[in-house]
Symmetry: C2
Amino acid sequence: MSAPEGAPGPLSLNTATVRDQWNLAQAIEGCARHGIPGISPWRDKVAALGLAQAARHIRDAGLFVSGLCRGGAFPAADATGRRAAIDDNLRAIEEAHALGARCLVVLGGGLPPGSKDLPGARAMFHDGLAEVLPVARAAGVTLALEPLHPMTCADRSVLTTLAQALDLCDALGDGLGIALDVYHVWWDPMLAQQVARAGRRIAAFHVCDWLVPTTDLVFDRGMPGDGVIDIPAIRAMAEAAGYAGCCELELLSRRWWQEDPDQVLLRAKAAHAAAC
Amino acid sequence: MSAPEGAPGPLSLNTATVRDQWNLAQAIEGCARHGIPGISPWRDKVAALGLAQAARHIRDAGLFVSGLCRGGAFPAADATGRRAAIDDNLRAIEEAHALGARCLVVLGGGLPPGSKDLPGARAMFHDGLAEVLPVARAAGVTLALEPLHPMTCADRSVLTTLAQALDLCDALGDGLGIALDVYHVWWDPMLAQQVARAGRRIAAFHVCDWLVPTTDLVFDRGMPGDGVIDIPAIRAMAEAAGYAGCCELELLSRRWWQEDPDQVLLRAKAAHAAAC
């Protein structure tokens, strides 16, 4: 393992890490209490607290917002569904702006129910993205495309590789970036090449770890250091490409959702220092 | 879904499909009884029957051997382990030759235990392959590199994409080919491009289906037609590239391993006709 020089960027807590334990107010207070300077809320938790209240509470706690999770998911079975996805993304852009988020994380979405037309779903993703992008630009909100692991392709993300996300960035231009999550890309033989290609378009850097064995396709991620991903090596690639931002812990894990959330944050801080 | 003109190539039964129900002799007799013209045995089943006996039994039943599963897995923790893997591959090449197999299916193998050095493991795969390739060439045995789904990268296959496998073919030259398994590659944004690039190097075409949801990373594959993979579209790509061989059903499934194996073969024949 080739650990890069220097420490990782400051820690940010993605609220999915304490999804089952804390509402947004508790997560904000937890970050402040544990000296974690950043937060990345999910939209359902923002809605539960109220957007204005959430923005105020985060600001009062002195936290930065590394991202808002999440927009995207443009593929749908019919025009009504595609329109609803676009409208939802327009709301997400407003919310990201109101929160002062550094980006809106944008996911591919899965195949429409019953469909086997993967190229068609990818075309729907492209078209939906192209439609909301001018609004995001006007709001100053970067849309950070997050390719998810190919095991999520059917039901969560037709956006599966960095190369595919960067092709979209190239095609659609300013206002797009990349959310680089080590869990989703560590296996990619083109990783180093594509991270270099991404350059300053890396808008977010997400960490967790790949456990051996992995027992669930979505909810069995590991704390950094507990798995096989060489996170410092990937961070070094991102930094060499120009990324100088934070390190966001997004840990979807049925195991960690059983733990005391204050203990999770203590472990997160230690893992951030030792294994990122 | 864009089904190509014409029927799929003849069906071959990978013995993993009936792994828990039948030994090799029973699988051979099952194929003959159900009019399935091809078989692809796993090496443990060949060893249990005896190599010469297996070759004679398959020949007497009039079956062709679409492949032998499996070689590869060169990454290891130390030089002794790497040497053992190479020796095992040399035996596998002999076995494939004795069985008249159209190829030896070669897998990447996972990271050595405790290692996070994925580039290093990939280098070990390259080096081991380079060492056994001259022996395979001399024996007339094609080594069919099979990239597995990226979700197997940590513990089964550091060979994760068609592009990576074809880069190895380009680098090491004659005697190598590709085992194209729709389950492992269907998600790849570069699929059409890389299948075209593979051309006549496609030495095997494996089918099963991606179920939604998928509940296990290895043993929850579906019968063709039960999932979301557009198998006819991928077959059309392979045929356009020059592939004119059989359609091998390799179905690792805890569910199907519970079924009566004669019923599995009846369903396999129907799925081959309707969904491949």
